[in-house]
Every structure is written in C-alpha cells, then in structure tokens.
C-alpha cells in the first residue's frame, strides 16, 4: 500500500462495506473469485445486531409477522418488484445460512428459530420481531415468552438506555421486569458503549461487574443488560457473567454507536482479508469509467484519488444516503458513482407525506436503483445497462427495509444473488 502501487486489477470489485458488501465479499471469497473490496464505515457501526428477514408485512397495516417465510411469499406475490422477488426462497435461506455459519466459525454464533421470528426487547421498551440474534441475546426472547422474573440492569451515565423505561413500557406484557441502576466498574460520569465493551474483555472488570449485580438478583431467573458484553471476548464474558450470577444473561440493543454493529464489522474486517479479499477499507470509489473491453476502471481514495482499480465486474453495495450510495438534493436523487437511473417520485414534493409517521412510509424510502433478476441495474424500460455491473443491498428500489424490518435479509440475499449472477458472468 505504501509504495504507491496505485494500479490494481481484479475480477470483481465490491463497492461497499456494509452488510450487503461484506456478505457479497464473503460469498465471493468462498467461491474463490479474485475480489477487491472498497468502502467507508457506514451504518454498520450503528447496527443493533438483530438480523431481520421480514418483520412487518403489510407495512400499511403494521402487521407483525410470526412466520417470515410465509411473509416473504406473500410479499413477493403482492410486490413483484420487491428485491426478494428476484430470488427463490431456497436461495434466501441458503444465503442466510452461509452468513450465520461464517459468524459461528468466527466465534460469534447467532441464534434463530429458523422457521419463525422472535420478539426482542429494544432500549425504548418496545418489542421488535426479528429472525436471528447474536447468541448473547439468545435468552431474551424466551424469557419474554415465559415472562420470567427478569432483572434489568442499566448503568449510571449510559445515555439512551433506561431499565426503568423498558420495565414501564412493557409493564402489561412483562410484569416481572425489575429495573436496577448500578455504576459501571471503574468508571464515572458519562459512559460510552465501546469503552464498556472493551473494558469487559478484561477479566478483572467482569469480576467487578458480577459483584455489583449479584446483590440485586434476588429471585430473578434471568438478567438483561445493555449490549456491551465484550467486544472480542463475548464468549468469555457471557460465561463469566452467567457462572458468576448463576442465571442466564442476555443483551439488549443500545443506542448508537452499537457494539453489536462494531463486532460484526470487526469480524468481517479481520476475516475477509484472510480469506483472500483485497480490502481498501476507509476508502471510497470516487469515480468509475467503463473501458472499451467492458471492464471498469475505478478511482479510489479518501479525499483524493490514491488508487486505480480495474475490474472485470463490479457489485454495487454502496448503501443509501448515509452510506453515500445515493445523494439527494433539491434537484433529485442520484446514484453517486455510475450515475445510474434512480427510481424515484417524479416530483420532489412527492418524496414525503405530510404526516411524518404515515403508516405506509414515504415514497422516498422506496426510491433506489432497480435491477433485473440477474441483479443488473436497469434503465426506465427495464433494460440491463451493463452486463458487468450488479447491485445489491439497501440501494435497491421498491423496498422499505426500515418499516418492513428486512434489512439484513435483503442485504444478504441480494448480495448472494448478485454474486451468483456475477460468478456466472465471469465464467
């Protein structure tokens, strides 16, 4: 990197290091495709750790789903343009299984009921329906279902997380929630989630935490804590806490920055290069040029162009507005790298409903890049634009991942589809 080796070539360029980009890189690595991955830190640092497949359908009715697979089937029938409709159920399932297996071998197993969603606590005291959770959160859903006596711990100085609020909000649904506030070991004043998580990676701090919680357990059968139970050593942290307290422990997502998202990011960042991916992390694609032979030439850098990467194919997982895959201003929404056509309301005035909390969500949320069944971005007539360009993840049009609660599933499944199509193209 140092000797200004500015020129690189590869078979596949993955643009983006979010959930879709990382998943795509994983699939590509497993198939031995010569891959370069470029991306900035985007929202994955804020990810709650909950892997949504499909949580709410239909959105307008706010119907929470118990069986996500059934939900997907209905969704694809009702909304044939939804990205899920581009794939068969078996592929979606396979893509998720691969990612979960990867996380398992990375020392961060996930828990899923496989056929059904689970209900999980949020820091606001609401419930969310999700498909897979890190094993650190495993005991939450079952404790909720059983309405076990649960000690909810929060920490003095941790903003955006109140055990009392959770208990009050869920009073009807889960009366045996007992909130308690304690101090975090060796810390005073304002607390930060990442520091707490790293602190708990140290045995000494874990002991102190156990000692601080134990007096409050009483008859509680389970303990709920904010999701700060270790950054790298979650296994040890869980073991020590559960052993020390004598009851199961589970994590509850926190406000951002979320340790859960950081864990995922770290795992992907450490393992993907080891699997053969050539990473250009903390860089972004600043420009793209199509060469005469159909390959792509990318300008990559942080503030200025530092590298030029020539790729036979590219998968765009560049995200939406925060990820900088899309850009919105008074003139419209545009795709920032290739300037692909973006499906969007004709008029800027039509982007939003006047009611912020409109049940259907806002039309702008469904804007994005439209793709065909091979995940090639298409023009207004549905025609493929470039045979060597693919797109996946939240940049895709015709989906509202936030309200449909399908973010991770969408990212992973479409990445799977895109890589599969791309691999075929490369051969």
């Amino acid at each position: 990197m140092n000797t200004y080796n500015k020129e690189t070539t590869c078979d596949l360029m993955i643009i983006g290091t979010g959930m879709a980009g990382m998943a795509a890189a994983l699939f590509a690595a497993q198939q031995g495709i010569d891959t370069v991955q470029v991306g900035l830190t985007g929202e994955i640092a804020f990810a709650s750790g909950l892997m949504d497949l499909l949580g709410v359908y239909p959105v307008a009715q706010g119907k929470v789903l118990d069986d996500p697979w059934q939900g997907i089937t209905r969704l694809c029938r009702d909304e044939p343009l939804h990205p899920y409709a581009l794939l068969d159920i078996a592929s979606i399932r396979e893509s998720l299984d691969i990612v979960l297996a990867f996380l398992l071998t990375s020392g961060y197993p996930h828990f899923t009921l496989s056929q059904r969603n689970m209900e999980v606590l949020t820091p606001a005291g609401t419930l969310k329906s999700t498909y897979a959770v890190p094993y650190t959160m495993r005991h939450g859903p079952s404790a909720l279902a059983d309405r076990s006596s649960c000690l909810l711990v929060d920490f003095d100085g941790l903003k955006g997380y109140s055990a009392r609020q959770i208990a009050l909000s869920l009073a009807d649904r889960w009366p045996e929630l007992h909130p308690v506030r304690i101090g975090f070991p060796d810390a005073k004043g304002e607390l930060y989630t990442e520091h707490m998580a790293r602190a708990l990676d140290v045995a000494d701090i874990r002991e102190k935490l156990v000692a601080a919680i134990r007096p409050h357990i009483g008859t509680a059968e389970v303990v709920g804590l904010p999701a700060v139970l270790g950054m790298y050593r979650t296994v040890r942290v869980m073991e020590d806490l559960q052993q020390g307290l004598g009851v199961p422990v589970f994590e509850i997502p926190t406000m951002l920055p979320a340790v859960t998202g950081l864990r995922l990011r770290e795992i992907f960042e450490q393992r993907l290069p080891a699997m053969g991916i050539r990473p250009f992390f903390q860089q972004r694609v600043m420009g793209a040029q199509r060469l005469a032979d159909g390959r792509w030439r990318f300008d990559v850098g942080r503030a200025d162009i530092d590298f030029r990467i020539t790729a036979r194919s590219a998968i765009m997982c560049s995200g939406r507005f925060f990820g900088k895959g899309l850009h919105a201003d008074r003139h419209g929404i545009r795709e920032t790298i290739f300037d692909l056509p973006v499906v969007q309301p004709k008029d800027r005035a039509a982007w939003h409903h006047k009611d912020l909390l409109h049940r259907e969500g806002h039309p702008i949320n469904r804007a994005g890049v439209a793709v065909d069944d091979q995940f090639h971005p298409v023009d207004a007539n549905g025609q493929m634009l470039y045979p060597s360009l693919f797109a996946a993840g939240s940049i895709l049009a015709h989906q509202d991942w936030k309200r449909q609660k399908c973010g991770s599933g969408l990212a992973i499944a479409t990445a799977y589809g895109a890589v599969r199509a791309c691999a075929r193209m490369l051969d």
Partner: protein
C-alpha cells in the same frame, strides 16, 4: 632592546609612564579579581533540581573534592594531562570536526598566545631565550608581523563564518563583536604603530642620538640617505638617494651602529604595506603626534582586553579548558549530585557562542518558522544563563519555555560542542527549573484553567501573531471552514473509539469535553470554549477518531489545529502576564504536577 625598555626610554614623562604602568597593573588586578569572581560563581549559580537544597559551602567542598579526586588519582591525572594536551594544546577535537574551523581557531589562539609570550613579554622571555633579540630584527620582526597577520586572518575568518551562515548571522551578539573588535584593535593599532615608526623621521633622529654618538649632520647624512633608500623613512625634505657612494658610506655606518638591531622593514609583512601607504602623510602624522597616540592606543586596548577578560568571551581561555577536562573525566550523570550545578555553571561560562551546536541542531530549521531564538541551543544557553543569574524577566522565562520544549533531546549539540559542555544535561536541568518556576510546556500550561476560563482569557488574545511572524499564519484552516464539520452527525463514534476517553474514569470531569462535543462546538462556531478543554490537550494523537469517523470529519487534525491556535494566541508575552504564571511549585509537588494530577 625590548618594547618595555623602549617605552621607558622614549616616554620621557614620568607621569605617562606611571599612568601606563597603573593601567597595566590595574587591568591585571581587575582581570585576576574578575577571574576569581567568575570561578567563584561556578559554585554559587543554581541550575537544576540539585541546586535547591544545597549551600555554598557544600558546593565549594564538593568542587574541591572533585578536583582533589582528579589530582590524587593516577587515572585522573593521566586524563587531565591527556585532555590538556589533545584538546587544549592541539585541539584535535576541533580538527576532527571541521579542519577549517581548527585553522581559524589555531590562528587566533596561537597567534595571540605567541604574541603575548614573544612580543608583550619580549624582554622577559624572548630576549632571554635569544640574547641577540631586537624587535626590529629578523626573524623576530617578521615573525611578529606574521603572527599579526595570522590573528587578523583568524579574525576575518571568524567574522566571515558568522556572517555567511544565515542562522549565525541572525544570532550574532555584541559579545561576538566585542571580541573581534578587541583583537583587531590590538593587532591593527600595533601594526599601525609599527608602520608609523618605520617611516618616522623623528624616531630616526632620536635613535641616531642614542646610538650614534654624533650630532654632526654631515656625518649622519649618508646614514640618512641609506635609511631613506632602504628603510623607507620619510624624511622631510627627502635626502637624495642617487649617489651610490653616499649610500655605500651610509651602509657602512649602518652596519656599525644599526644593523645589530635592524632588519629591513620589508619583512614586517603586516606593517610595511601600511607604512608605504602612510609615507606621503608623514609630516601630518608627525605634527599630530600619531605615533604617541597609537602607542597609547595599542597599550590601552591591550589593557582593556586584559581587564575585560573575565567579563567577555575571552574568559573562555580559563573556563573552556576546565570544561574540556571535566568532560573527559565524566559527565553530569556520573557527578555527585552536589557537583552537577557546578558543572552546569562552568558550562555556562565555557560557551564561546561559536554556534556549532546551533548549526547541527535537529530542530534548527524550526527557527525559520517560529522566530524564537531560544529554540537554538547557543541562544537558549544564553537565556538559561540569564535565568540562572537571576536576570530574567517573566517574558524571558516564557520565551525560554517555548524554545526549550521544542528541543527533542537528540544530543547532537552535546556531541558537537567544542567546549565540552554537557548540553543535554543543561537542557534537562533548565527544563526542570522552568517547570518548577511555573513555566511548563503548553500541555501543562493549559491545565491551569478550565475550558470556560480559557474561553474568557482567549477573548483578550486575538490571533494576530501572523502579522509579526507571517510564517506562523496557518496555510489553511479546518476549524473556521464549515465544510469541515457539516457532515458531522454527532454519532459519537469518535468519542467511542478514543482511548483517552476510555481510560478516563470520569470523562466529563477529567476531559471536560469529549471529541464529538468538541466537533459540535466547532459547528456552533464556539471554538474558544473548546480550545482550553482538557480533551484537546490530553489527546494522544492516535488518529482513531479521524480514521473511524463515518462522515470523513478530520477530527484529529482539528484537534491539532486547536492546539496550534492556542500556542499562537497565548504568546510568551501573554503567558508572562498571566497572574498564575509566577506560582512556584516546590520540588516535592513536582511529581504531582508532572503526572498531570
């Protein structure tokens, strides 16, 4: 006939004689007393922490003990003698560093030394060694002038050297000029005197009166013609020098009465050209009594130099050999603590302001940007001396502090110092004194007040340093540019990755602001509130914040810029006027202060 003899013979007035003798002895007494005073100061001046709890008696005894140790141990004596031979007499260490500088110094040193021994004390030394010595006789006359040329060459070399280098030129001091003026003065008055004497007809007459035993003008005429022709005396009127017979006769007279003491003046390589130039003005010269004036001048400048020896750069003749020997025998690290301040005080006196340390200083280039001469070791040493002798002001302390903490302790100055100073130790000691006197580096300084207090103080400290020191104006600004911050969404990732926040038990108490709060204040254009916060000064510059920011905000660069701005606005003058600046922190609390409690 020796110079002093001649002086006594020619100066007929007893009072003049007495006057000059008084001058000489007076100068000598001043010199000796001065040397004693300066050497005494070596055991008095405080420099470094070891000087805090000691007394004059302890230091004096310590010094004597160290000297005794040297003299009473064979190893010590050997090192002493070897150092004196190699570094004082041969000055091999200078030769190794820079042959040209060695030549210059040798010319000056040996030129003056030999002139002192062979010319000033010619009646006591030269005449005794060489019974047929006469000051106007070769090779003595030639050698004396040659030594004069050597010294002048050295002076010119030294001057050119100092003027040719940009940094040395900027840091030239009065003391440097004084030395060169004194030396030049001595040589040039001497050469002028000799030149005037060469052409002086009055002197000819006097000498004839003394050594020829004749008043007969007829008898003298051939000699006069000979001397007019061969010895460039400017008679008025000029005798005819055409007649070879007359000249021949003159030559015989010369060989009888003059030749034992006189060689032809052409060998006076320094004075002779001057004599020729002055010949046309000989009458005028005689009228105004220039010879006497020059005689006084030459003598008195010499006395002046002698009297000023302990108070000018000439003192290095005494102090530098001591310093070189003490370096050969050890360093501050191996000294007993009581002797360390003594070694340092000696070092202060041994410095010749040669500037070699500055020429090799690793942070020398910074002086081009930050025009504080205390960055440069040769100038910093001078300021340290002022601090040690209690002649420093608050402003000077603050400037010295700014310069001292830029030093990286690389030790090159110490390696190069030709006078044997342990500069590395000197800096450590002066920094310790600065800390204890309440002039720590900026990071410590900023701990005096809270962020909001600093915000108030900064209101009265505009960022105008760029007007006096244009290179200190920032080439670009991140902090005043809204583009830097518009992307900040206050996600607090920077705060979460910051190891300083992580290690703080109570970030609010210990740091006052967290990184994302600092960024927020920038967005709100409330920079002053952030500049003085502990976070800015406890930042470890690891760049994690900037690396992890999802929005590309250059967090760490901004923190650097805030520190730069504080250093620009809180100039030494401002720091000197801060009422809290004079708090003297006793040594026992030094640990607490150093550890940032």
């Amino acid at each position: 006939m020796g110079l002093s003899e001649r002086a006594r013979a020619c100066w007929t007035e007893g009072e003049t004689n007495m006057f000059l003798a008084y001058c000489a002895y007076g100068a000598l007494i001043i010199c000796l007393v001065g040397i004693g005073y300066r050497m005494g100061r070596w055991v008095v001046l405080p420099l470094g922490p070891e000087a805090e709890d000691t007394t004059l008696a302890k230091r004096a005894l310590g010094a004597l003990g160290a000297v005794a140790k040297v003299l009473l141990q064979p190893r010590g004596l050997i090192v002493l003698l070897r150092t004196l031979f190699m570094e004082v007499i041969l000055q091999i260490h200078i030769l190794r560093q820079d042959p040209r500088r060695w030549v210059m110094h040798m010319a000056l040193f040996y030129g003056m030394l030999l002139l002192l021994l062979m010319h000033v004390f010619d009646d006591r030394i030269t005449a005794r060694l060489f019974p047929d010595y006469a000051s106007t006789l070769n090779p003595f006359m030639f050698l004396r002038d040659l030594l004069g040329v050597l010294v002048m060459a050295g002076v010119i070399f030294a001057f050119v050297r100092r003027r040719a280098d940009r940094t040395l030129r900027r840091t030239m001091r009065g003391a440097d000029c004084l030395l060169l003026v004194l030396l030049s003065g001595i040589i040039l008055t001497g050469a002028s005197l000799e030149a005037v004497q060469i052409i002086s007809p009055t002197l000819f007459d006097e000498m004839v009166g003394d050594y020829m035993d004749s008043d007969d003008l007829e008898e003298i005429a051939p000699l006069k013609a000979y001397w007019a022709a061969q010895f460039d005396v400017a008679f008025a009127p000029m005798p005819s020098t055409d007649d070879p017979e007359l000249l021949d006769e003159g030559r015989s007279l010369h060989e009888v009465s003059c030749a034992t003491c006189h060689s032809r003046p052409g060998s006076a390589v320094l004075s002779y050209p001057l004599a020729l130039a002055l010949k046309p003005f000989s009458a005028r010269i005689t009228d105004i009594g220039l010879e006497t004036a020059l005689r006084y001048a030459h003598f008195l400048i010499g006395c002046l130099a002698l009297a000023l020896l302990p108070f000018s750069k000439l003192f290095h003749l005494v102090s530098t050999p001591f310093s070189l020997v003490s370096r050969a025998l050890g360093s501050a690290a191996t000294d007993r603590p009581v002797n360390r301040p003594t070694r340092r005080a000696l070092g202060l006196d041994a410095c010749t302001h040669c500037g070699v340390c500055t020429l090799h200083c690793a942070v020398g280039p910074i002086f081009q940007v930050i025009p504080n001469s205390d960055i440069l070791p040769s100038e910093k040493l001078h300021s340290v001396a002022l601090m040690a002798t209690g002649r420093s002001s608050a402003h000077a302390y603050a400037r010295l502090s700014e310069g001292s903490f830029i030093c990286t302790g690389c030790g090159r100055c110490t390696t190069w110092c030709p006078s044997g100073l342990d500069l590395q130790d000197m800096w450590a000691a002066s920094i310790s004194d600065l800390n204890r006197s309440g002039y720590p580096q900026s990071h410590g300084w900023m701990r005096r007040h809270s962020a909001s207090q600093w915000a108030e103080i900064l209101k009265t400290c505009p960022d105008t340093l760029g007007e006096q020191a244009p290179l200190r104006k920032t080439p670009f600004r991140l902090t005043d540019n809204p583009d830097t911050f518009w992307a900040c969404v206050q996600c607090s990732t920077c705060t979460n990755v910051c190891p300083v926040v992580a290690i703080s038990e109570d970030p609010q108490r210990d740091l006052e602001l967290t990184p994302q709060q600092v960024m927020n204040l920038m967005r709100l254009q409330r920079k002053e509130t952030a500049i003085g916060s502990r976070m800015v000064w406890d930042c470890v510059t690891c760049y994690k914040c900037q690396e992890h920011c999802p929005q590309g905000v250059r967090v760490a660069d901004v923190l650097y810029e805030l520190r730069n701005e504080a250093c620009r606005r809180l100039t030494p003058a401002v720091r000197a006027s801060d009422p809290s600046s004079e708090q003297h922190i006793p040594a026992t609390d030094l640990g607490a202060q150093k550890n940032g409690a």
